[in-house]
């Protein structure tokens, strides 16, 4: 196999991955949905433990989430979520600051916690659901 060929074989996947990454980031920062509403979701150990609809919050609410390894304090308001206090060793979660976009999770690895804004869609096309 010639050297040039080898170079391409190496270069192309890397280039594709990088381009895809750039596109992914650009696309994920675009477009708020027209239908659907945002909920702040709290996942502990992978399971959804709480879901709070954000547009119904006139004031920010604060929640303390306790797990075996420690605690996290979360603030949720109409437009954003943040973890503002925690006793975890790395403090990656508090360093993340305030997140306003959907699907940008704030995670606390030692505490197995993920706080993220998700989109709930009433079935696109449906004008409402009774029940």
């Amino acid at each position: 196999m010639s050297d040039r060929k080898k170079l391409f074989i190496m270069l192309i996947p890397i280039a594709l991955i990088l381009i895809a990454s750039v596109l992914w980031i650009i696309l994920s920062h675009n477009g708020s949905p027209k239908s659907g509403y945002r909920v702040a979701c709290i996942y502990q150990n992978g399971a959804l433990t709480e879901e709070i609809r954000m547009d119904s919050l006139d004031q920010a609410i604060e929640k303390t989430i306790i797990c075996d390894q420690g605690f996290n304090r979360v603030r949720i308001d109409k437009t954003s979520v943040s973890v503002f206090e925690s006793d975890c060793p790395g403090k990656d979660c508090t360093a993340m600051g305030t997140v306003e976009s959907e699907y940008r999770p704030i995670s606390c690895l030692p505490h197995r916690l993920v706080v993220v804004i998700e989109l709930r869609d009433s079935d696109p096309g449906l004008d409402g659901v009774a029940g």
């Binding site: 050297d3 080898k6 170079l7 190496m10 270069l11 890397i14 991955i17 990088l18 895809a20 990454s21 750039v22 992914w24 980031i25 994920s28 996942y43 150990n45 992978g46 399971a47 060793p89 790395g90 990656d92 360093a95 993340m96 600051g97 699907y103 940008r104 999770p105 995670s107 690895l109 030692p110 197995r112 916690l113 993920v114 993220v116």
Partner: protein
């Protein structure tokens, strides 16, 4: 026998030195505040050592140094979690760079290093996925791929520079103190 043990000694000394260097690099980079507060974004400076060892030494020697560095780093940081994290990343990085070095016959070091860094970050993300049991970790992937490419390029260039500029391979390999008699002994055994 004497030359053998001397060889081993000097090899151990050399590897120990590299492990120390890797450890120091690791500690230094963890002191640098992360511009992107996403868990796992580290410059990966310590991989300079891993790559260098893969080029100049034997792969298992690079592996040992990696393990030693990881264990010591975890002991110093006091956290088992970061050990798992770095273990997965470090091993994947090592493996991918080793294979790629064979494939490229040790050319295009920066590309090898970039690939290693991408695998390193991917490995860390996989562990995070397991620990958090949440699909959300994958949203970090594009950011980690891009930062991995940048740091990989950086470490690759540094490694390339070192490889070209460092003193003769024999000395670094720890074989410079070969006993002439050992050569005769080996020749007779064959």
């Amino acid at each position: 026998m004497r030359s053998n043990s001397r060889m081993i000694l000097s090899k151990v000394a050399a590897l120990g030195l590299f492990a120390a260097v890797a450890l120091v690099l690791y500690i230094v980079e963890s002191l640098i505040p992360s511009f992107i507060p996403i868990p796992g974004i580290k410059l990966g400076l310590a991989n300079i050592v891993t790559l260098f060892l893969l080029i100049r030494f034997k792969p298992w020697e690079a592996g040992i140094v990696l393990l030693v560095r990881l264990v010591l780093a975890a002991a110093i940081a006091g956290q088992m979690i970061s050990f798992l994290y770095s273990l997965a990343g470090g091993l994947l990085c090592l493996l991918s760079m080793y294979l790629l070095l064979i494939f490229t016959k040790k050319k295009w070091i920066p590309l090898v290093s970039i690939t290693g860094a991408l695998f390193h970050n991917f490995g860390q993300l996989c562990v995070a996925r397991l620990l958090l049991a949440s699909e959300y970790v994958w949203t970090y992937l594009p950011y980690l791929m891009l930062s991995g490419a940048v740091t990989g390029l950086l470490t690759g260039l540094i490694c390339l520079f070192l490889h070209k500029k460092m003193p003769s391979p024999e000395t670094i390999r720890g074989e410079g103190m070969q006993d002439p008699e050992a050569d005769n002994e080996d020749a007779e055994k064959k």
